[in-house]
């Protein structure tokens, strides 16, 4: 009985510690967004923070404005639209990573098409 309880405890701890818990998903632009141009592509930019034991926050992910600017630079976006901000936490045993992720439609400048 005691052994079964111990095994159950270990399995439960492993299952809970290896999970990604959903936090939030929200649009950063609303309403009258015009349809993007034909050349638009989805791009993603994210940053991670750090928590000890999933409880103590040691570092938070970057502000979404930083992620937008980073996505614009990295993907040579002339115009960005339909940005969506996701926030979730990855639990890895004794450390956890709160993740902030921006997914958006990027309209590259004509000369930058095909670049990463």
């Amino acid at each position: 009985m005691r052994r079964n309880l111990r095994m159950f405890g270990i399995l439960a701890a492993l299952a809970l510690s290896g999970c990604t818990f959903y936090h939030s998903k929200q649009a950063l632009s609303v309403g009258s967004s015009a349809p993007p141009a034909e050349r638009a592509v989805f791009v993603t930019e994210e940053d991670s923070g750090l928590m000890a034991l999933g409880l103590i926050t040691l570092n938070e992910p970057d502000h979404y404005a930083v992620l937008l600017e980073r996505a614009r630079k990295r993907n040579h976006c002339q115009r960005m639209s339909h940005a969506q901000l996701d926030f979730f936490t990855d639990y890895w045993l004794i450390v956890a990573f709160p993740i902030s992720r921006v997914t958006l439609l990027c309209e590259r400048s004509a000369g930058a098409d095909g670049k990463p």
Partner: protein, 223 residues
């Protein structure tokens, strides 16, 4: 009765000072250049942040979980688990490692390892390769001794990098240069200075000082 009165007086006296400090703290510390105005149709156009507010792209942390297979001479192989942290400053990466060998019924049957090192990263054909050196100290409680070793070469590569994910693989060799028996009743009440532990230490430190390792680090990038 008098204490609240004194407190109120002190608050009133301190209020102008607090207001001045608050006004001072509201002063802009960085000149923000005006960017493109927000588009009326919900699009983001042009620069989103002034350069002064962007965090440096050349300095970041990579923290994660490490799994290491370690073998030395004819001894059995060990698998260690732990945490790895690297502070990337441009092409350099000071790093730290804390690992343990799980298993056994208590702490006397385990091994603990801590290490500090320095790596240099070089991108080749889009893949970041690294060369590093480090020192480690191990508390081999299961063998009743501690061991210090140096890693003169460690080769690594970032094999997966997407979003904040960063998976790295490292291979290298360690050379033991110091070690002594841990004579403690907590580890072995009946075996102080025991011959078997001395023999294992002699074999590990003197006969087979070199050991190879292969380490996989599942990390997250913290900008």
């Amino acid at each position: 009765m008098t204490f609240p009165f004194v407190l109120a007086l002190a608050s009133a006296a301190a209020a102008p000072l607090a207001d001045a400090r608050a006004a001072e703290s509201l002063e802009p510390v960085t000149a923000v250049e005006p960017g493109e105005p927000p588009s009326a149709d919900g699009r983001f156009e042009g620069r989103q942040l002034p350069a002064a507010l962007m965090p440096s792209a050349s300095r970041f942390w990579v923290l994660g979980v490490a799994v290491e297979e370690y073998g030395r001479g004819t001894n059995t192989r060990d698998v260690l688990y732990g945490l790895s942290g690297t502070w990337r400053v441009r092409s350099f990466g000071p790093n730290a490692l804390v690992m343990l060998k799980p298993g056994g019924s208590s702490y006397e049957d385990t091994r603990f390892l801590a290490g500090l090192g320095l790596r240099s990263y070089l991108p080749i054909f889009g893949i970041e390769f690294s060369y590093g050196v480090s020192v480690q100290i191990e508390a081999r409680l299961e063998d009743h001794f501690w061991l210090a070793s140096a890693t003169p070469f460690e080769l690594g590569a970032v094999v997966f990098s997407k979003g904040s994910w960063q998976v790295e693989v490292f291979a290298g060799a360690r050379h033991a240069f110091a070690g002594e028996l841990i004579n403690s009743f907590l580890l072995d009440p009946n075996g102080l200075e025991n011959q078997e532990a001395s023999d294992v230490l002699y074999r590990t430190k003197t006969l087979h000082p070199w050991g190879g390792f292969l380490r996989l680090v599942f990390g997250r990038r913290l900008d």
